[in-house]
Amino acid sequence: MKNYDIVIVGGGPAGLAAAVSAKQNGVDSILILERDKELGGILNQCIHNGFGLHTFKEELTGPEYAERFIRQVQDLGIEFKLNTMVMEISENRVVTAMNREDGLFDLQAKAVILAMGCRERARGALNIPGYRPAGIYSAGTAQRLVNMEGYMPGREVVILGSGDIGLIMARRMTLEGAKVKVVAELMPYSGGLKRNIVQCLDDYGIPLKLSHTVVDIKGKERVEGVTLAQVDENSRPIPGTEEFYSCDTLLLSVGLIPENEISRGMGVEINPVTSGPKVNESLETNMEGVFACGNVLHVHDLVDFVSEEAAAAGRNAAAYVKTVSLGTESTRQSDRKTDEEYLAERIPDKAAEQEICLIPTSGVRYTVPSTIRVSHMDEHLTVRFRVGNVYKNCYVSAYFDEKRVIHRKRQVVAPGEMEELKLTKEQILQYPNLKTITIKIEEA
């Protein structure tokens, strides 16, 4: 069985940034496993611009953003395998994968970085009545067909869901000659970025119907039309508000789900709110040496934040590998410290150190990370979270146990945009025996 210091599952933006960062932090034995025929993940089909404003201070398209990281991976000589599917990972970090060249094979990893991304919620999850005709696609599938394979999924389109992919596809289908009749959104607000509403819908006169959903799909072989209805505050359709739109295509942009079958299989604890692993300050899961980053951890709005988070995961995995490896070396050289002495210095006794729990409440749906071990913290820690509703003129607050330490005014926070809060080690060290940090939205 081949050994690697770090095996990274997924060669999209998260996997690439994690690999680059791990290498830059001194680990040479790294392998990226990617199931597609090229690196870059979903960025390859996101041909629109707007990527990289934070990372590169310029607006790139998806493929260009991916290329910057792919080039770094190649320049650094990081190993990767394409067309390779990871089947299973054992709790001792034996990675079982397969491809056409190697067949089924096992790898032993000192550390694993989970970077599998997410997939789209499909029709089956929505309870829309009607037949199952051709012409119903998830927005991302349509995006791949149009942008990479050169096929048009249809001519007259209705889009359900105003997530960013749905908005981007409204514009893309229009430019390719389709008629996008309407975008319907169940919630009273859009789940997408403002600039996408303006530049993808308003620019092309495509109406956005908030608090609307699809209540019927007409057509047996092919979609012939859909019926939209307005919904009440409990998201129930209001009788009498039905409106029929003839169309041959229905695109669904109704949410993304982190792809954690492998993680669950190996015993990684999953946060029911994010559907991603529960992680500590090092982005390490409950399984020692198993880290997670990017959309498999929680769904991000901007790829720049994925890269940033993945770089942290790569750095932390590298630190973990060095700790474990140095510990082993020291046993070979008897004049040095023993393993135990060494590890005692580097990894304080788990029982001895109390973890600080991050508690999301009052409008904050979740936080990443979920726990903090102060001894493992860098000087700065970015806590990312999402809110459950639109709040205007509010405060984002952090309570260290009972005491309010952070109280930051925000003009608006919305579920579509990821929020962050920076904590410093210095700040936390001022509160010995700290047990919880509660993060909440407070109305002004």
């Binding site: 041909i47 398209t61 493929p63 290329e67 990479m148 050169g150 303006v198 579509g416």
Partner: protein
Amino acid sequence: MEVKNLICINCPMGCALTVEMEGNEVVKISGNTCPRGEAYGRKEVTDPTRIVTSTVKVTGGKAEMVSVKTKQDIPKGKISECIKALKDVEVQAPVYIGDVIVADIAGTGVDIVATKNIELL
């Protein structure tokens, strides 16, 4: 006097801007919370521009399509002409990021460039 309503896209606030115009002159911008909103409103009504992205066919490459963009932003009114001009364009692999696919698209003075590397098959 003409009144135009816009949504500012600079931040998640999404201020509803009202721009009052006298012919081609902006007379008043209201509804914005910060100076960025005013600048956005002015540009949007006098000289709105966009980066346009699309795809064109590739022959002999590892992929069927190559993604492209306008190298700089072009006037909003030129988008559809730009897309039409790309309709039957076909390029030969290999193609590299930054390669000019169509020069001076739709008389804008802006080139269409590739945004992805497509190697030979």
